[in-house]
């Protein structure tokens, strides 16, 4: 048997130590340590920001009030009205009421003058148009009944704020609510106007324009999405608001688009039918592929029969069905058993199964009588037996091969006995192998040399080159030198080295003896040195 060397690896060792490279104390996250401080910092910064905002609000109010005062000082009441409107928007209701009252008081004489001239104009206009005149009269009466200018203005501003702003979607608008809001605003506007204030009119116009833009944008969007009927509904809802002229133009545009779209729709329907046909064919192909995969995976007759059943029910089109039928026939009757047969051989060669296992599997599977495994069974088993024999006659383990090494390394083998006892260190083993290799090389180069002589030569070469073979144990039978002083050992070593130089290399026996002496002297010398060093250390 040939044994592969095994090397112990690190993970295995860590398991044996039961220790891991961790500690009960964990490293601290520096970021998390500073979190409380950072939180405080953020809180402080937020307070600073808040203080800045308070400053801003205070300053805006002051500025609005200053602008209003400035306009009033200049008796520019229209400008003052606009400033008041902005002051109300900026500063909120609380100061606005007070400011508006102040404004009204200061403006009273001027307002009366405007009111009188405006009332005259309105009465004139009422004469020209009965309906308009009725409206004006109504508002005129209401305005007389109005309690105060400031309330009207505030109501107007609130109404304006309820109107949808730019960017709103028409889909989310409630027409009833919007109409109501518009009425409130217009009413307030008229009240304010008749009371002599022109102020919110510009803003109201802006809001109306924005709302119209939203509605028209919504209608365009619906037309773009092809929802023409929805677009017509939206148009109906806001017909009066958009105005007849504009609404009619939009309506005719929608109608002409509907006509042209009908032709496109017919073409699209034909295209869709073709697409559906393609899709059906793709489905056929996908299903066919699935069935082929299943068929390939089916090994036993039962599995194949199940797939056959599935094929018979499959809706895959005429051509694909014929193809599947052919494949099924080939799978049931055809050469698929070859796969089983060769599969067994592969398993056996790879060593994943043994012969008895394969035999048992063949019986368990109850393969049909006419299958190829049964037909070729004897043939297969003969092949398997042959392989088994081959395992037993591994050429690496033949006696002949073994003898070759033994002859060459016979002498070394004596010292290897110590190896068997497990007494040698790694370094000694390596040294041993090194010597063995050198002996092998020497014998190969000098075929007539006896192995023991080759060993001697190698030992001599090592010794004379100054390399100590301390790792190599002494040959059995070689006496270690007697203990003496360090100087005596060195003298002996010098003597043997001189002897070695004088001795011819062909005299293997003598060279070998000297080599042994030198080696044992080397060991002794190191031992003495070690003792001397330990004594010196103690002192």
């Amino acid at each position: 048997m040939r044994t592969e060397p095994k090397v112990v690896d690190i993970p295995e060792l860590q398991q044996t130590t039961g220790l891991e490279y961790t500690s009960p104390v964990q490293a601290q996250s520096v970021e998390s340590a500073g979190l409380i401080g950072q939180g405080l910092q953020r809180t402080g910064n937020a307070l600073i920001g808040l203080a800045g905002d308070v400053y801003d609000v205070q300053n805006r109010k002051l500025a609005a009030r200053r602008e209003l005062d400035s306009a009033l000082d200049n008796q520019d009441y229209e400008e003052a009205g606009t400033k008041l409107y902005h002051a109300i928007k900026t500063s909120g209701k609380i100061p606005a009421k007070q400011w508006a009252a102040e404004f009204e008081k200061q403006w009273q004489p001027e307002r009366d003058r405007i009111f009188n001239s405006r009332a005259k104009r309105d009465v004139l206009a009422a004469k020209q148009s009965e309906v308009y005149g009725h409206k004006v009269k109504n508002h005129f009466t209401k305005s007389l009944m109005a309690e105060g200018y400031a309330e009207d203005t505030l109501q107007t501003v609130e109404g304006l704020d309820q109107l949808p702003s730019r960017g709103a979607s028409v889909a989310h608008l409630d027409p009833t609510q919007i109409d109501q809001q518009m009425k409130i605003v217009e009413e307030a506007y008229h009240k304010a106007t008749l009371a002599g204030a022109y102020l919110p009119s510009v803003e109201l116009k802006k809001r109306k324009a924005a709302f119209e833009e939203i509605v028209l944008g919504g209608i365009n969007g619906q037309i773009g999405d092809g929802k023409h009927s929805d677009a017509l509904k939206t148009l109906d809802k806001y017909y009066s608001f958009i105005g007849q002229e504009k609404a009619q133009a939009i309506e005719s545009a929608i109608m002409s688009q509907i006509k042209s779209n009908r032709a496109e729709q017919r073409a699209a329907e034909t295209h869709q039918q073709q697409q559906a046909k393609h899709k059906q064919e793709e489905g056929y192909d996908r299903r066919t592929s699935e069935l082929i995969v299943k068929l390939n995976d089916a090994v036993t007759p039962e599995e194949k029969a199940a797939v056959g059943e599935e094929i018979s029910r499959a809706d895959v089109g005429h051509t694909n069905y014929n193809y599947l039928e052919t494949r099924l026939k080939r799978a049931v009757e055809g050469p698929d058993d070859f796969a089983v047969y060769f599969g067994h051989i592969q398993d056996l060669y790879s060593g994943s199964k043994t012969i008895p296992q394969i035999r048992k599997e063949a019986l368990d599977n109850s393969l049909p009588e006419n299958n190829l495994l049964n037909k070729h069974g004897p043939e297969l088993f003969a092949l398997l037996n042959q392989r088994e024999k081959a395992h037993k006659t591994d050429p690496m383990l033949t006696r002949e091969w073994h003898n070759v090494d033994r002859r060459i390394l016979g002498e070394v083998g004596a010292t290897v006995n110590q190896l068997k006892m497990g007494l040698l260190s790694n370094a000694q083993t390596i040294a041993m192998a090194k010597i063995t290799r050198q002996v092998n090389d020497y014998v190969r180069k000098h075929p007539n040399t006896r192995p023991e002589a080759a060993l001697d030569v190698v030992m001599h070469t090592e010794a004379s080159s100054g390399v100590t073979n301390s790792a190599l144990p002494l040959k059995p039978g070689v006496e270690p030198p007697k203990a003496g002083s360090l100087k005596e050992v060195e003298d002996q070593k010098k003597y043997y080295l001189d002897e070695l130089k004088k001795t011819p290399q062909s005299d293997f026996k003598k060279v070998g003896e000297i080599g042994d002496k030198l080696k044992s002297l080397g060991i002794l010398k190191r031992e003495l040195e070690r003792k001397a060093n330990s004594k010196a250390g103690k002192k």
Binding site: M1, T3, P5, V7, V8, I10, L13, T16, T17, Y21, S23, V25, Q26, A27, Q28, V30, A33, G34, I36, G37, Q38, L40, Q41, T43, G44, A46, L47, I48, A51, G52, V54, Y55, D56, Q58, N59, L62, A63, R66, M396, H402, D405, I408, L409, V412, G413, V416, N417, L419, K420, M421, G422, N426, A427, T429, I430, M432, A433, K434, T436, R437
Partner: protein
């Protein structure tokens, strides 16, 4: 008056927060430095223990292999011997690798410890504290100046 009070309170809290954050970070880095020092010692101990265990295991493996050879009558020559040599060489290489790995772990832990200590000093330094609080104070002063000036001119 209210904004000024808010501003002063905010500045004080923010500055204290910056100082506390730095101090906490410095403390954390100091603890980390201690932790890495402990890790270095620990790595050294584990390395030595692993090496010793490896030596025992490897010796045991080799002895059992030799024993198996002896028991089955295989001569300790030729290929068996060379194979034993190969294993011995690999064993020595493994020991060397383990020693180097231990040294690397210890060195890494020490380097981390030094780095943490350095960071701890940096966090706690006067310069860092000053640089952390100065922007807050300057920003608050700017806001206050802007607010007061706006009220006068606006």
């Amino acid at each position: 008056m209210l904004p000024l009070i808010l501003m002063a309170a905010g500045t004080a809290i923010s500055a204290y927060g910056a100082i506390k954050s730095n101090q906490d970070k410095a403390d954390a880095e100091k603890r980390n430095a201690d932790y890495y020092a402990e890790q270095a010692d620990y790595a050294q101990q584990i390395g030595e223990r692993e090496l010793a265990l490896f030596g025992q295991k490897e010796e045991s493996l080799r002895s059992s292999l030799i024993g198996a050879y002896a028991k089955s009558g295989v001569e300790m020559t030729g290929s068996p011997l060379l194979m034993l040599e190969a294993q011995a060489i690999r064993g020595e290489q493994q020991k060397r690798a383990m020693t180097l790995e231990t040294e690397r772990r210890v060195r890494l832990a020490r380097l981390r410890g030094e780095s943490s200590l350095n960071m701890s000093e940096q966090y706690g330094s006067f310069t860092n504290q000053f640089l952390s609080t100065a922007p807050t104070i300057l920003s608050a002063a700017g806001q206050a100046y802007k607010g007061e000036n706006g009220a006068k001119s606006g």
